[in-house]
Structure formats: C-alpha cells, structure tokens
C-alpha cells in the first residue's frame, strides 16, 4: 500500500518534472545567450494559460488544438519583448536589466488582474480528461499528456539547438558574441530568436498546464520561482542541465510533499538551491 503511494508520488513527480524542465529551459536559453534573467517568465506562462482558457471558453477550441496558436503567439511576444525592451538595455547595469523585466512582469500580471479579475478559471472539458490506471497506479490523463508534450517539445528544441544551422549559430552566439558577429552571424537576430524560442517553450508549457490547473493572474509566480531554481541548479545556459534540474525538482516536490510535509516541500527545493550554489557556484552543469 505505502509502496504504491511512493511509486505514485515518484511518477507524478516525473510527469511534472518534464513540464518544469520545459519552463526552465526557456529561461535558461535566454540567459545563456545574453546573461539576462527574464523575471517576466512566469507571466508569459500565465498569458499562455489565459489564451488557452479564452480560446476554449469563447470558441470552444480544445487546448490541444490551441497549442500551436499559443506557441506562435508567445514566440511573437518574446520577439517583441526583445526588440521593444531588451535590446535597449543589453549593456545597461544588471540592476536595470532586472528592473526592466520585473516591470514587465508587474505590468502583465496587473493587466491580467484588471482585465480578467483575480478569480481562478478552469478549463472544464477537454479532449484529455479523467484518470487512467496503469498497473494499479492512477494517473491523470492531462498530466500524462502534459509531460509527454513537454518532453516532445524539449526534444524538438534540443535537436534544433544541436543539429540545425540556426541552432549552431545560437550556440556560437552564446559562447562568444564577438566572435559570432565576426563570423557573420546576425547577433541581434539571434537574440530575438532566443527570446522567441524561450517564450514559445513557456507558451507550450502553459497550454499543457491549463488542461489541469486553474489559471489566475498569480499563477506564474510559483512556476517562475521553480524555474529560477532549476536554471541555477542546472547551470545558467545549460539545456540538458535544465532537463535534469527540472526532473530533480519534480521528484523533490513529490517526495518532500509525501515524506516531510506538503507545506514544506518548497523549503526543501529552495534549500537545495542554496546548498548547490554555495558549494558549486556555477551550478551543477556548465553552459551549453
């Protein structure tokens, strides 16, 4: 009986871990590229969830079909953020960069609250609903779809970064922007692309989360916090590091919730961050 619960916890943690990894990798990609932390990352997630909700609520569009639309929308938002804000503060002090993205976060969160009220909203009917039983373990179908979807998106991103010419150009830019620029890589467009892809990642994750989690203006905060921890754990800029850290956080959340006390699970995760960065200030992995 207890054994079932442990396995249940481990598998649920694994499923959430893939979603965390996808959220984290978007953040990590942007940081690896230009050493800027997007503190509005959670708000991008929230916007994507709201988009999925409204498409479902107004047009009856199932979240799974809305997924490409949301991804494209967030991709555009990411690019717009780069051209509208980020490129103008690339060489500004770190504090200015932090404030600019925090300002954006506050703006987006407050706008959502103003437009859509603070009440949580839920997508109540979806193609993927209910629970399935696999070998005596009950798992939510939306969670399974979300983790498979996240893993697929992650794999796609990984292939893109490591195999395609554009992906290699992104890597080159991340390693040495000057050298990349000398080699004829359009650095500014690479940055924009990084923001686009990073935001699309969180867009996909948002839609997948919206199939089983209510959305409210504050929803992004916790996921963003976990993503910061994941990114720092995996090493800012490391793609596989994000995957590992996302899975680790999923496990810790599930097991700490079960072993210690659900209310302290985030204390455990945050403490892990502190222990890791103090002992190994560059994170568990280097950069990609």
């Amino acid at each position: 009986m207890t054994q079932d619960i442990i396995i249940q916890a481990i598998i649920s943690g694994l499923l959430m871990g893939f979603v965390y990894a996808l959220i984290a990798v978007g953040l990590s990609l942007i940081f690896g590229l230009m050493e800027i932390v997007n503190f509005a990352h959670g708000e991008f997630l929230m916007l994507s969830m709201y988009t999925a909700f409204w498409l479902w609520s107004l047009f009856g569009l199932d979240p799974l079909f809305a997924l490409p639309l949301c991804a494209a929308l967030m991709f555009t938002l990411g690019i717009a953020t780069h051209y509208g804000i980020i490129r103008h503060i690339l060489h500004a002090p770190m504090l200015v960069q932090i404030c600019a993205t925090f300002g954006l976060a506050i703006f987006l969160r407050a706008s959502a609250q103003f437009l859509w009220t603070p009440d949580p909203r839920t997508i109540t009917t979806s193609l993927v609903e209910g629970r399935v039983e696999i070998l005596g373990i009950f798992l939510g179908l939306p969670q399974i779809v979300a983790s498979v979807g996240s893993l697929a998106a992650f794999a796609l991103l990984y292939l893109f970064i490591t195999r395609s010419d554009t992906g290699l150009a992104l890597q080159a830019t991340a390693q040495d922007r000057q050298a990349a620029s000398l080699m004829g890589i359009p650095v500014d467009r690479m940055y924009a692309l990084g923001w686009g892809i990073g935001s699309a990642c969180v867009g996909v994750a948002g839609v997948l989360l919206a199939t089983f989690r209510p959305v409210d203006p504050e929803v992004g905060a916790l996921y963003a916090l976990l993503a910061y921890v994941a990114v720092a754990l995996g090493g800012f800029g490391s793609i596989l590091g994000s995957l590992f850290a996302g899975l680790l956080i999923g496990q810790m959340e599930a097991l700490a919730g079960w072993l210690i006390d659900p209310s302290y699970k985030y204390v455990v995760i945050f403490s892990l961050y502190l222990v890791v960065v103090v002992l190994r200030p560059q994170g568990l992995f280097g950069r990609f």
């Binding site: 770190m94 932090i98 404030c99 954006l104 706008s111 609250q113 200030p281």
Partner: protein, 365 residues
C-alpha cells in the same frame, strides 16, 4: 608572531615640491570636502522642512496623512535597500524578510510579554542584523544573479516557515490589542494619525542622516569601491566580506525599524503582508525609479509611487483593480529604457549640479 603592519611608510607620499609649484596642491587640499549648499538648495530645504511640519495640520483628514506616512515608511525601506544595493552593489531580492522580522519581533514581545514596542524594535533590529550576517557569510561569494536569486529564495523560505510556525501565530499572524493608555510607551495612537506621521518622519530622517553619514565616511567609500571593482578594493586592503556584511546589516536594521513601525500602525502582522516577495520588489523598484546609490533617489521613488497607488486605490476601490500596478510596471520599464539613472537625473537638471561624488551607477553589471 603576527607580521608587523606596514604602518611606517617606506615611501611616504613625497613632498609636492618635486612636482613644481606646490601651490596647486595646497589649493586643491584647501578645497572643501563637500561643496556648500547653493542658495536655491537652502531655500528649498527650509521650505520643504516647514511644509513637512505644517502638512498634517493643514490636511487634517486621515487620507492625506496616511499617504504621507506611507511615503515616509516606503522611503525608509527604499533607502535601506539602497545602502546594500545602491552603494555596495549587492542586489537583494529578499529584503522583505527583515521588515517581517522587525514587525514580528516587536509585535510578539508586546503581545506575549507586554514589552514596549520601542524595546521590541531594538530586539528586532538586532535579530535582523544577525540574520543578515548569517545569510551573508555563505552567499557573498555568489556573483550577480546567483546572489540575487539566493536572497529571493531565502525570503521565500522565511515566509513559508513563518506561515507554518504556530508559536508566532502561523498564517493568522499576530493581532495587537488596542490600548488607550500610555500611548507613547505602547507606540499606539488611536485618536489621530499625527503622532504616527511625526514618528515615521523621524525614522525616515534618521535613516537618511545615517546614509548621508555613511556616504561621506570610510564605510561609504569602501562600499562604493566594492560595488565598482571588488578585486581592486581587495588589492587596496579592503576586507570585502566584512564590508558587504556591514552593508547588509545596516540595511537590515532600517528595514526592521520600518517593520516595527508598520506593525504599530496597522496593529496586525501576518506573513502574507510583511514577508512577501512583492514587498521586496516594490522597495527595489522605488529605489531604482528614483535613482540608486544616491541619497535622494529612494525618497523620490517613494514620493512618486505611493501617491499613485494610494489614489488609484481610493478612486477605483478595493485593490484599485491593480491599475496602480499597471502604471508602476509600465513606468519602471519606461524609466529603465529612457532614464536608467532614475528620476533623480531629471531633478538634477533642475537643481544646481550636486557634488560629483554622489553620482553613482546601478550596482555591478
């Protein structure tokens, strides 16, 4: 056993006579350390002081007094954050924890042991400073974002722990009883906001005088050196861990003071209100908006943002439909893009040029 200090100089800075006319040197040495205030600055100062004293008597309704009290309180918090980040270059995203520590210390001691909140405030200050020292030691070696996010998660951990800690009221927090006698000792004024007004103003002045003194003393020079080039500072004999800790502790102390004031002002403390990340961020935004690393910047930031949120709250009711935050967010982005040194840049265009030494940048980049 310890090697001797290099107190006796092997090469004293040599006589200036070597360099030709030493009259230039003497003239330079005779220059005042700080340029005297201009006539305009003096006039403005006197008018400002008079206006601040007269204000609560002219506007003798609760709302305008409340707005000013909030400006003083947040101005003090932004100033406190400024010590650590603006002067010393260490960006903290968890400063609310010291505010919470101050609020809880005095409230808990008053409710449990009937200790005067003034004494409770001192206890809070000591605890906050100790917490800052303990947090600083392992984290000061982290650079840039790693340090910032470390302070962020520590702030979150503290909030979660307080929310679950039954001994100090868990999520309900602490409700202070209303007491009508011995108002001054009990730090409670139920009939009028005027005493709160002057206490908050007093606290703010203390914080600003402390920063002014710090800025002009060795402490301030070392802080700025650490912000600009920590390695160079070390090579010149500055113990950077020690001085970062001092900046953090000083900063935490004023945050805790503000916390006690807040607890006595609203008479209730709960973890959602005194420990949230949003408070840490708000304080940071005020300082940056006004201009970090300057004495007046944080005050300007508070004076702009607080009336904005308080009036939208009144006009639109409740939480103000978050309109204030929409404007905040947009405003801070615009300032980052067009006036990264903060609103103080605009003020300086209007007032005569301030001493160059107060001009400063926004932390390490």
């Amino acid at each position: 056993m310890a090697p001797p200090r290099a107190s006796a100089p092997a090469a004293t800075p040599p006589p200036a006579a070597l360099d030709g006319p030493d009259s230039a040197l003497r003239a330079a040495q005779a220059e005042p350390l700080h340029p005297p205030l201009s006539g305009r600055q003096k006039t403005l100062g006197i008018l400002g002081a008079a206006a601040l004293v007269a204000y609560p008597f002219v506007f003798n309704t609760p709302f305008p007094q409340h707005v000013m009290i909030m400006i003083f309180l947040y101005g003090m918090m932004a100033q406190s954050w400024n010590i650590m980040a603006g002067y010393c270059g260490q960006i903290s995203l968890g400063h609310a924890m010291f505010f919470g520590i101050g609020a809880y210390s005095s409230a808990f001691l008053f409710v449990t042991y009937q200790i005067s909140p003034w004494l409770g405030m001192l206890v809070g200050i000591v605890i906050a400073m100790a917490a800052a020292a303990v947090i600083g030691l392992p984290t000061f070696r982290l650079r840039g974002h790693y340090f910032a996010i470390a302070t962020l998660v520590i702030g979150e951990i503290v909030q979660i722990v307080v929310q679950r800690w039954e001994f100090i009221g868990a999520a309900t927090g602490i409700w202070l009883p209303i007491i009508r006698e011995n108002q001054l000792v009990n730090f409670q004024f139920n009939d009028s906001k005027i005493p709160y007004y002057f206490i908050a103003l007093g606290f703010l002045i203390v914080a600003c005088l402390a920063v002014r003194h710090m800025e002009r003393s060795r402490l301030g020079f070392y802080f700025r050196a650490i912000r600009e080039e920590p390695e160079a500072a070390r090579s010149l004999g500055v113990n950077i861990t020690l001085y970062k800790s001092l900046a953090f502790m000083l900063s935490a102390a004023f945050m805790a003071m503000a916390g006690t004031f807040y607890a006595q002002y609203v008479l209730v403390v709960d973890p959602e209100v005194v420990f949230p990340l949003t408070l840490s961020i708000l304080v940071l935004l005020m300082a940056v908006m006004g201009g970090v690393g300057t004495l007046w910047g944080p005050l300007i930031g508070a004076a702009v943002l607080i009336p904005l949120s308080e009036t939208t709250r009144i006009l639109l009711g409740g939480t103000g439909g978050a309109v204030d935050l929409i404007i905040y967010g947009a405003l801070i982005v615009v300032i980052c893009l067009f006036k990264p040194e903060g609103l103080i840049g605009l003020v300086r265009q209007w007032l005569p040029a301030p001493p160059a030494e107060r001009e400063a940048d926004h932390g390490d980049s």
